[in-house]
Symmetry: C2
Subunit: 208 residues, 2 copies
């Protein structure tokens, strides 16, 4: 697993002349960082007298945030695997008619997976951004900049995932799949932007 590498080694892997891990895995890692920060702010809120009224709500956010963190970390690898699967499919033999048909089928399947992995990341970032909205407004106000950085990570993770959906979707021939995916992508983007706008309206009012 890529997350078992040291940070330095993972950065070296990314920076190498191999196309994976690339932008998709980096987007998932950014979201993992956002989830870790969200959990930190929850933990700096729970048990504090001043925040006794929101104790249960923040405990619930912490549970969901930790669950999302596990899913984000899994996507770091899933995206790299999905990309490699596309490369393998393109490399299949194409001498005979049978081989050609088989190859095209494999490429299309692999491209769909490589689209669905970042689409899932977008959906989870949207969910995570709703958690940040709660934490930034109701959590420990000394950690407001940390909660804001979490929001920035989910925004970057979601935008990065959207780019990866688009680039793979461009080669998918199943028009129903393309339309459905575009609709979902727009829905996740719009919904996430709405939470982000609320978060930064609050943050700007409180730290300028």
């Amino acid at each position: 697993m890529l997350s078992s590498l040291s940070v330095t080694d993972l950065l070296n892997e990314i920076a190498s002349n191999s196309p994976a891990p690339g932008g998709g895995s980096v987007s998932a890692l950014a979201a993992s960082l956002g989830a870790a920060l969200t959990s930190m702010v929850c933990r700096l809120t729970i048990g504090k007298k001043k925040y006794i009224d929101v104790q249960m709500e923040i405990e619930n956010v912490l549970k969901r945030s930790e669950d999302l963190r596990v899913q984000f970390i899994a996507i770091i690898d899933e995206d790299t695997k999905a990309f490699n699967k596309v490369m393998v499919a393109y490399g299949l033999p194409k001498e005979t008619e049978d081989q050609k048909v088989k190859r095209i089928g494999e490429i299309q399947n692999a491209l769909k997976t490589a689209t669905l992995v970042p689409l899932k990341l977008m959906e989870l970032c949207r969910e995570a951004m709703e958690l940040v909205k709660i934490v930034v407004e109701k959590g420990n106000q000394n950690s407001i900049s940390d909660a804001s950085v979490a929001a920035l990570m989910f925004q970057a993770g979601c935008d990065g995932a959207a780019l990866n959906v688009k680039i793979n979707l461009g080669s998918v021939s199943d028009t129903d799949f393309v339309e459905e995916t575009k609709m979902k992508m727009d829905h996740f983007s719009t919904s996430l932007k709405s939470s982000t706008a609320d978060i930064f309206a609050y943050v700007t009012k409180h730290i300028g």
Copy 2:
């Protein structure tokens, strides 16, 4: 060094109930990821016939990108250290008049450092974004989404750093320092936004 930890262990450190490493270190790590992606796109461009005309320019970008990566990784630790120094200063004894004066001086010094570290991060993200602008337009066009994710990481890193500058600057009493820092911050933000706008205008035209 935080970067010698595994990704999983660093995420656990961030998510723990200790306020550091927090948003400042995460912003520096996001920028490190951006630099690694920029270097990857350079390496996927260098040596390719199609990009022979930009070979030397991209080799130069790679050198600068790798140098920036080292500096971003260093800031992951510097930010956590700067934050801890502020905490230590606040914890100094304040029984006698001498102690009070000494404590206030230490707090102010520590706050200035905790401001200058993310300010440096903003400056370096601005520089890095100029490299992405070159890479996205002239580098391997198969890696355009990776270069775009690099841009998203520098944007998030710079915005996260700006929040950390602001939050520390709010407690700095030296008005000259405050004004000068605000001017620099605005300059870096504006300059970075200009490169980002160019990058995404190009990306939108090419991948929608």
